[in-house]
């Protein structure tokens, strides 16, 4: 129940985009059509579900103060947490490159559609942020970690798909010319964020 609560919270209330502005670059650049944004959304959820637990395991058994206790008494005072940025990003970059190769092999249309943004998943802030938030908030069981990672990914996907749907329709509206494209997208995101704030305070 606790984990389910966390899952729902991270989709709606702590939404990666609307509450923390994470993963905005690909959010703004790819949200032009619903089809590609669904593809990218799925890719993000998928990468998150692999990287978050791996990074959590690395953090718990290698980096945290005292995490090296399993190697023997001599190692119990070692604190490697200052290495966490570099290790997390290495794990993420390696896994993303792997996913890229797999997609290129098995689904060339998806690979072509995502184009340059597949390697950019590695630098999608949402992915690293999930690893850092898990460390920061000290989630302690694998269930919690998976619930948080899945929820964040789905929340991100929800945001990008709905934004793409709005942008497909707004093409036919009469917007001031300088505001077209990027400008109106920012303002729309802001308005959507205000709408999402109404989820605050909901408890399950």
């Amino acid at each position: 129940m606790e984990n389910f609560n966390l899952f729902i919270r991270s989709i709606f209330i702590d939404n990666m985009i609307f509450a923390y502005f994470l993963g905005m670059c690909s959010f703004l650049a790819v949200s032009k059509t619903v089809k590609t944004s669904i593809g990218l959304g799925i890719a993000v959820v998928f990468v998150l579900l692999i990287t978050a637990p791996v990074n959590w395991l690395v953090d718990t058994y290698l980096l945290k103060p005292g995490a090296l206790k399993w190697m023997g008494e001599n190692f119990k005072d070692i604190d490697l947490s200052y290495l966490s940025f570099i290790i997390f990003i290495a794990v993420i970059a390696a896994i993303v490159q792997l996913v890229e190769m797999v997609i290129e092999k098995f689904s060339p249309p998806l690979y072509n559609a995502l184009g340059i943004f597949l390697p950019l998943i590695a630098v999608n802030c949402a992915i690293l942020a999930v690893a850092l938030f898990i460390q920061d908030r000290e989630y302690s069981t694998i269930g919690e970690v998976m619930a948080y990672a899945g929820g964040s990914g789905i929340g991100w996907m929800l945001a990008i798909v709905s934004m793409a749907a709005i942008r497909e329709k707004i093409r036919y509206s009469n917007i001031p010319r300088p505001l077209k494209g990027l400008g109106i997208t920012f303002i729309l995101t802001g308005l959507m964020a205000i709408a999402f704030m109404s989820f605050m305070g909901i408890k399950i």
């Binding site: 966490s84 290495a90 802001g190 205000i194």
Partner: protein
């Protein structure tokens, strides 16, 4: 090639590299890079300035380093190499911030770490440093860092002024105004307003420079 070598370190070409990202090629409002990690730090000016400086330093030096080793990097592992360089620099910045401005570093929390995935850095490294000489890349990195910092400071200025009536933590809106019924705009402190302010900045910038308007 030889001619380039004779150019002084601050010739016109380099000044142009430095200036262009401030307006016409601004990383945030034109290239749409690096919005990710930054908006949440713009509630007050102080963290915004610290963040802007950190990003400038990291961008400049990672461009410099990557550009100096660009001929030895194998193309298919380049992203990992680039990330490693950036991550190492960010760790240094993070440790410095923790040592000298601990309160700001606490406020920035995970966002310092997120400089690693700030698309400005990777974007500039990929697009510029991989194909240019070290000094030009360094200037380009610093210029983009400033362009990013400029937007950050403008946004945080308005959010702090209108949201809590302060600038850099000092009260600037006089007490008398509050007594006359002025109220701080609470909405400014909330995340959505940062997005809307950037939207407005883009609007103003594009009406001044019509060549930036999106086609289609």
């Amino acid at each position: 090639m030889n001619q380039e070598k004779r150019e002084s370190l601050f010739s016109k070409k380099y000044l142009k590299l430095l200036k262009k990202p401030l307006n016409l090629n601004n990383p945030i409002s034109v290239q749409v890079l690096g919005i990710c990690s930054a908006l949440a730090v713009t509630v007050q000016m102080k963290p915004a300035i610290v963040m802007a400086l950190s990003v400038t330093v990291v961008t400049g030096f990672s461009c410099l380093i990557i550009s100096s080793i660009r001929n030895t990097i194998a193309p298919n592992i380049r992203i990992i190499v680039q990330l490693m360089v950036v991550a190492a620099l960010v760790i240094i910045v993070d440790q410095i911030l923790k040592a000298f401005v601990y309160d700001v570093s606490k406020k920035l929390s995970v966002y310092v770490g997120l400089i690693i995935t700030n698309c400005i850095i990777l974007g500039r490294v990929e697009a510029f440093a991989m194909g240019n000489k070290p000094w030009a890349s360094f200037i380009d990195g610093i210029g983009n860092g400033f362009g990013y910092g400029l937007v950050l400071i403008i946004v945080s200025f308005f959010r702090e002024l209108l949201g809590s009536g302060k600038i850099l933590g000092h009260q600037v809106i006089p007490k008398a105004l509050y007594n006359a019924g002025y109220i701080n705009n609470g909405l400014m402190i909330l995340p959505p307003m940062a997005l809307i302010i950037i939207g407005v900045i883009i609007w103003i910038q594009r009406s001044k420079n019509p060549e930036l308007i999106d086609k289609g």
